[in-house]
C-alpha cells in the first residue's frame, strides 16, 4: 500500500495520538509529590529557617479498577468491661466489615481477655457464613492482655505476609492493658516492629477507659489510624471508614528521603516521626490512601543569601510500591527558594497552605506535649507549653503576613487555662489525643 508523502506525518501523528494515552495511563504514577515552602522568597542577608512541605497526593482509584487484596486481622477486646452493648455493637460492626470484603481478601479474628483466642484463623473472607457464626459466639469476660492479642493478630497476618496484600490489624479495645507488656512505649515499639514488616495497626478506643497514649502510640508507630469512639453505636461507622481507607490504598511502603545540600541544615520534622541524620531526613509511611493527601513538614536552616540568589533547599525522593501493580516506583522533586531584599516580596510570597499545615501540626504537637506534661503532674508547665506555642505561632503568622491563618492558634491559650485549672476528664484527654493524632497523620475525618 502506498501512502502519499504528504499524509505520512499525519499518519505518524495519528499513531502517536493512539499510543500516547495508553502510555500515559501505564506510566501514570500512583503518587504525585508536591514540594512547597512556607516562604518561597526568603529575606536575604541573614540565615533563615524555612519549612518545606512535601505533600503526597494519591488520586482516588477509579471505582471499577481492581484494588489490591487486603489481609485484615481484627483484634477484639472481649474483656469483662466490653460486656453488653459494646460487645454487641462490636460484633455487628465486625460482621459488617466482613461483608465489605471480597473473596480475594483474607480475614482473621483474634479475641483476647487475659488469654488469647484465635476465633477465626486467617482465611479467605468468602467463607463468611461460618465466620459470622464464630463472631456471634464471642462472649465477654476477663482481663485485658492487649499485647498478646496484637501479637496473635500479627501472627495471623504473617500467614499471608508474602502475598500481594494490604496488611492491616484493627485493634478494638475499651480498657487498660493489664496483662503482659502494657506501657505506651512497649506497645509503640511493637507497632514500630510491625511497621517494618509492613503491618499497620489501626486502634479503635471505645468509651473513656482505654489508655489513649498506648492506643495512639501503637497506631502512630505502625502508621495505622486511631479512632476515639465515645459511643459504641458509632462503631459500625468507624469500621466502615477504616475499611474505606484500607480498600483505597494506592501505595505501600512509602519512604520519603529529603537530602539537603551541605549548606542547608535540617532542623526538625514537624508533627511526624522520622529520622534526621546529617543532611538527610527520612520519613516512612506504610501506605497512602486514594483521594487523601499526606504530607511531611521539615524545618531547615538556610545560610545567608544574596538578593536574587536561588538556592536548592532539598531534593526529595519518594519511593513506594504501587499497590495495583506491586511494582516499586519513584517520584522526585526539588525544593527551591530564592532570596530577596524586599520584605514585601517575602510577605507576598508566603504560602497560606503551608503555614496552615504548620500551625495545625505545631498545635497538635503542643497539645500532645502538654498532655504528657499534664499526665506527669506538671500542670503549670503544660499550660505554659500551650501558651508559648500559641504566642509563637501567632507571632510568626503576623510576621509572615498570615495572621488569619495563625488565628486558630489562639485557641491554645484558652486550652492552657483548661489544663491549668480543673482536672481534665478522661474523655477530653482522649479527644485531644485523637484530634492531635488526626492532625499529625492527616487522617481523614470520621
Amino acid at each position: 500500500m502506498k501512502i502519499p508523502r504528504s499524509l505520512r506525518p499525519l499518519l505518524a501523528l495519528l499513531l502517536l495520538a493512539a499510543v500516547l494515552p495508553a502510555l500515559a495511563l501505564a506510566a501514570a504514577p500512583a503518587v504525585r509529590v508536591q514540594v512547597s515552602l512556607d516562604r518561597p522568597q526568603l529575606p536575604a542577608g541573614s540565615p533563615q529557617t524555612a519549612v518545606i512541605k512535601v505533600a503526597l497526593d494519591a488520586p482516588a482509584r477509579p471505582g471499577d479498577g481492581e484494588r489490591p487484596p487486603i489481609n485484615l486481622t481484627l483484634v477484639l477486646d472481649r474483656s469483662g468491661s466490653m460486656a453488653g452493648e459494646k460487645l454487641e455493637r462490636a460484633r455487628a460492626a465486625v460482621i459488617e466489615a466482613l461483608r465489605r470484603l471480597g473473596p480475594r481478601d483474607i480475614f482473621a479474628l483474634v479475641t483476647y481477655d487475659h488469654s488469647v483466642e484465635t476465633v477465626v484463623p486467617a482465611q479467605p473472607a468468602s467463607n463468611s457464613e461460618w465466620i459470622e457464626g464464630r463472631i456471634r459466639g464471642i462472649a465477654a469476660g476477663g482481663n485485658t492482655a492487649l499485647f498478646a492479642g496484637v501479637s496473635q493478630g500479627a501472627a495471623e497476618v504473617r500467614k499471608h505476609l508474602a502475598g500481594p496484600y494490604i496488611h492491616r490489624i484493627i485493634l478494638l479495645s475499651d480498657g487498660l492493658a493489664n496483662v503482659g507488656p502494657s506501657t505506651p512505649d512497649d506497645l509503640g515499639r511493637l507497632g514500630g516492629a510491625l511497621l517494618k514488616e509492613g503491618i499497620s495497626v489501626t486502634t479503635v478506643g471505645v468509651g473513656t477507659d482505654f489508655n489513649e497514649d498506648l492506643m495512639t502510640r501503637l497506631a502512630a508507630r505502625s502508621d495505622g489510624n486511631h479512632y476515639f469512639v465515645a459511643e459504641s453505636r458509632d462503631l459500625s461507622r468507624i469500621f466502615a471508614s477504616e475499611l474505606g481507607d484500607v480498600l483505597s490504598v494506592v501505595a505501600r511502603k512509602v519512604i520519603i528521603e529529603i537530602e539537603c545540600p551541605p549548606t542547608v541544615r535540617p532542623l526538625r520534622i514537624i508533627g511526624r516521626e522520622g529520622r534526621i541524620s546529617g543532611q538527610r531526613v527520612e520519613v516512612g509511611m506504610n501506605q497512602l490512601y486514594g483521594g487523601q493527601q499526606k504530607y511531611v513538614l521539615i524545618e531547615v536552616e538556610t545560610p545567608a543569601g544574596r538578593p536574587q540568589q536561588t538556592l536548592e533547599l532539598a531534593r526529595v525522593r519518594t519511593t513506594y510500591e504501587n499497590s495495583r501493580t506491586a511494582k516499586a516506583e519513584t517520584a522526585n522533586a526539588r525544593a527551591m527558594a530564592s532570596f530577596t531584599a524586599s520584605a514585601t516580596e517575602v510577605r507576598r510570597s508566603a504560602s497560606p497552605e503551608v503555614y496552615q499545615a504548620v500551625v495545625e501540626n505545631e498545635m497538635a504537637a503542643a497539645r500532645d506535649k502538654a498532655l504528657d506534661l499534664y499526665n506527669s503532674g506538671k500542670r503549670e508547665e503544660a499550660a505554659q507549653e500551650l501558651k508559648d506555642t500559641s504566642a509563637t505561632l501567632q507571632q510568626k503568622g503576623e510576621a509572615a503576613g498570615l495572621g488569619a491563618v495563625a488565628a486558630p492558634a489562639a485557641a491554645l491559650s484558652q486550652e492552657a487555662d483548661e489544663f491549668q485549672k480543673e482536672d481534665l476528664s478522661s474523655a477530653r484527654k482522649k479527644e485531644i489525643r485523637s484530634e492531635s493524632f488526626k492532625s499529625r497523620t492527616q487522617q481523614k475525618d470520621y
Partner: protein, 545 residues
C-alpha cells in the same frame, strides 16, 4: 443356739469379703487417681519443657542469625550498614559501633541523639565505659543444671550454636557475644561482634517487644481444659498466657520451668487452679461412689438372700411341726372314738354306760370337727376366700349362746364363768358365725391353758364406734418371749409333740385374721393380778372393706 450362729457366720462370710473387696477397690481408686495426677503433671511438665525448648530454639535461631549477619557485615561503611539493617529488621531496636579508646561511633556522639538513642547510650553506659565485661557470665558455656532435662536435640543444638563463636574466638581471635543485659529491672539482649583487627566492637540491640510478640505462638494454642500456660518475665509477671485462669501476683503456678539461658530468669509456667484437683477429685468421688454402691448392693442382696433363707427355713420347720401336731390332734380323738366304739360293740354293757360312751364319742367328734374346721378356715383365710355374712346382730346374745353351748365343758373343767355385759343391747353389723368362732377359739384356749385359774370373766365395754369384749382368765399367762408371736401362724408356746395340750397353733392366728377382716382386731394384754386378757375389738358400724 446353732441356728443363730450359722446365721451369724453366713452374715460374716458375706460382710467381711465384701468389705475387704471394697477397701481394695477404694485403694485401687486412690492409686489410679494419684497415677492420673502424676501423669497429668508429667504431661504438663513435658508440655512446659517443649515450650521452653521452642523458646530456646527460636532464640537460638535469632542469635545465630544475628551473629552470622554481624560476622559477615562488611567493614567499610559499617555504621551505615548497621543502621540500614536496623531500619529494615523488625527484631532490631538499636545498632552501635564502639571503638576501644574512642568510645561510641554509632549512635554518632556529635549530633543530637533521639530519645531512643539517648536511652540506649544510658542503658549500656557501663558496658561502653568498660566497667562491665562484654561476655555474659555463663553464656557460651555448658547449659546450667536447670537445662539438664532438655532433650538431646536441644543440647546438640546448644552445642552447635556454642561452637562457631568459640571457634572464631580461638581461630581468628574475633570475639562475638550474645549479652543479656539487665537495666532498671528489665531484660535487654545485645548481639555484638568484634572487628577482625580487634579494635572495634559493633552490634545490635534486640527489640524485646518484637521478639516476645513472636513467641506468642510457642505456648500450646489450645491447652487442655482447665490448664493455663504462661510465659513469665524476669519479674514473675505474666507476659502472655494461654488458658482461662486469671493469674494475679499471688497466684502460684502448679509448675514453673526456667526458659533457660536464652532468657535468664524467665519462666514458662503451668497454672491449673482447682481445675486439676477437681479432675482428680472427680475420679476419686466417682470411684468411691461406685465402690460404695457395689458394697451396699452386695450387702443388701446377700442380706436379703440370707433373710429369705432363714424365713423359708422357719416356715418349713413350722409346717413340719404343724403337720405333726395336726396328725397328733386328729389321732387323739380318733383313738378315743375307736376305743369307745369298741366298748359300745360289747353287748354286756349297761345302757347308762352306753349313753356315757356315746356322749364321749359325740364330744370327741365335735372336737375333731372344730379342729378340721380350723384347718379349713385357715386355708380359706390364707387364700382370702372366706365370705362374710354381715348382718345386724346382738353381741350379748352371741356371747350368751356361745357360753350356753360350752357351759358343760367349762363347768367340767372347773371354770367359773362370770359374765359382765352392759345394759343396752350391743347391736352391731357383723358376721355372727365368725364372732362365734372367735369366741369359741378363745374359750377353747381358756379351757386348755387356763383351767387351773378357776375363773373366767367375760366383760364388754362400749366406746366411740367400737365394742370391746375382754376374755380374762387367771391362767399362767404368756411367757415374755412369746408375747409378740402368739398371733403368728403355727406358733405354739410349747410346740413339742409331747406338749400337754393338743393344738395346731392356728386358733389365735385365725381369730385375729377374722376380726381384722371384719374391721376389728384381737389383742393380748397381761391381766393385772396374773392371767391373760384377750380383747376383741369390734367396730359398731360396718366399715367398707
Amino acid at each position: 443356739m446353732t441356728r443363730s450362729r450359722i446365721a451369724l457366720l453366713a452374715g460374716l462370710l458375706l460382710l467381711v469379703p465384701t468389705l475387704v473387696v471394697g477397701a481394695l477397690a477404694l485403694r485401687a481408686v486412690r492409686l489410679e487417681e494419684s497415677r492420673l495426677a502424676a501423669q497429668a503433671v508429667e504431661a504438663s511438665r513435658l508440655q512446659l519443657l517443649a515450650g521452653s525448648e521452642s523458646i530456646n530454639l527460636a532464640l537460638a535461631e535469632v542469635r545465630e542469625g544475628m551473629l552470622t549477619t554481624l560476622r559477615e557485615l562488611s567493614e567499610d561503611n559499617l555504621a551505615e550498614r548497621l543502621e540500614s539493617w536496623r531500619r529494615g529488621n523488625p527484631l532490631l531496636r538499636n545498632a552501635f559501633v564502639w571503638e576501644a579508646g574512642r568510645g561510641l561511633l554509632l549512635p554518632a556522639p556529635g549530633r543530637q541523639l533521639t530519645e531512643e538513642e539517648a536511652a540506649f547510650v544510658a542503658r549500656y553506659q557501663g558496658l561502653f565505659a568498660g566497667r562491665i565485661p562484654w561476655e555474659f557470665p555463663g553464656a557460651d558455656q555448658p547449659p546450667p543444671p536447670a537445662a539438664a532435662a532438655y532433650s538431646s536435640r536441644s543440647e546438640l543444638r546448644q552445642l552447635s550454636q556454642a561452637s562457631p563463636a568459640t571457634a572464631a574466638a580461638v581461630g581468628g581471635g574475633r570475639a562475638q557475644g550474645w549479652r543479656p543485659w539487665f537495666w532498671e529491672n528489665r531484660l535487654y539482649l545485645l548481639a555484638w561482634s568484634e572487628s577482625p583487627d580487634g579494635r572495634r566492637r559493633y552490634g545490635v540491640e534486640l527489640e524485646m517487644m518484637a521478639l516476645l510478640s513472636r513467641l506468642v505462638d510457642i505456648l500450646p494454642a489450645a491447652p487442655p481444659p482447665g490448664e493455663t500456660y504462661a510465659l513469665l518475665d524476669d519479674a514473675g509477671a505474666v507476659c502472655f498466657q494461654r488458658g482461662p485462669a486469671v493469674i494475679t501476683a499471688t497466684t502460684r503456678p502448679l509448675l514453673a520451668l526456667p526458659v533457660g539461658p536464652a532468657l535468664p530468669h524467665w519462666q514458662v509456667a503451668l497454672y491449673a487452679p482447682a481445675a486439676g484437683a477437681a479432675g482428680g477429685g472427680g475420679v476419686r468421688l466417682f470411684g468411691t461412689l461406685l465402690v460404695a454402691i457395689f458394697v451396699v448392693a452386695i450387702l443388701a442382696g446377700g442380706g436379703l438372700l440370707l433373710w429369705e433363707g432363714q424365713r423359708h427355713q422357719r416356715d418349713a420347720r413350722r409346717k413340719t411341726s404343724f403337720v405333726a401336731n395336726v396328725s397328733h390332734e386328729l389321732k387323739t380323738p380318733l383313738t378315743t372314738i375307736r376305743m369307745y366304739a369298741e366298748l359300745l360293740g360289747e353287748a354286756d354293757e349297761a345302757p347308762e354306760k352306753r349313753h356315757r360312751y356315746l356322749a364321749v364319742i359325740q364330744g370327741e367328734c365335735q372336737r375333731l370337727t372344730r379342729l378340721v374346721n380350723n384347718v379349713l378356715d385357715f386355708s380359706r383365710l390364707e387364700q382370702g376366700r372366706r365370705d362374710y355374712q354381715r348382718r345386724p346382730c346382738d353381741l350379748a346374745e352371741v356371747v350368751k349362746s356361745t357360753l350356753a353351748a360350752q357351759g358343760g365343758r367349762l363347768a367340767a373343767a372347773g371354770l367359773h364363768c362370770q359374765l359382765n355385759l352392759p345394759a343396752p343391747p350391743l347391736t352391731l353389723v357383723s358376721d355372727r358365725d365368725a364372732l362365734e368362732q372367735v369366741l369359741l377359739n378363745l374359750l377353747d384356749n381358756a379351757l386348755k391353758y387356763a383351767a387351773t385359774g378357776g375363773e373366767l370373766q367375760i366383760a364388754a365395754a362400749v366406746t366411740d364406734g367400737a365394742i370391746k369384749v375382754g376374755i380374762l382368765d387367771r391362767g399362767p399367762g404368756i411367757p415374755e418371749a412369746h408375747r409378740q408371736k402368739i398371733f403368728d401362724k403355727f406358733h405354739r408356746v410349747d410346740d413339742t409333740l409331747t406338749a400337754r395340750q393338743p393344738g395346731s397353733g392356728l386358733g389365735l392366728a385365725i381369730s385375729r385374721q377374722l376380726l381384722r377382716d371384719l374391721g376389728g382386731d384381737l389383742l393380748w394384754r397381761l391381766r393385772p393380778g396374773g392371767g391373760s386378757c384377750f380383747e376383741m375389738i369390734l367396730p359398731r358400724t360396718e366399715r367398707s372393706s
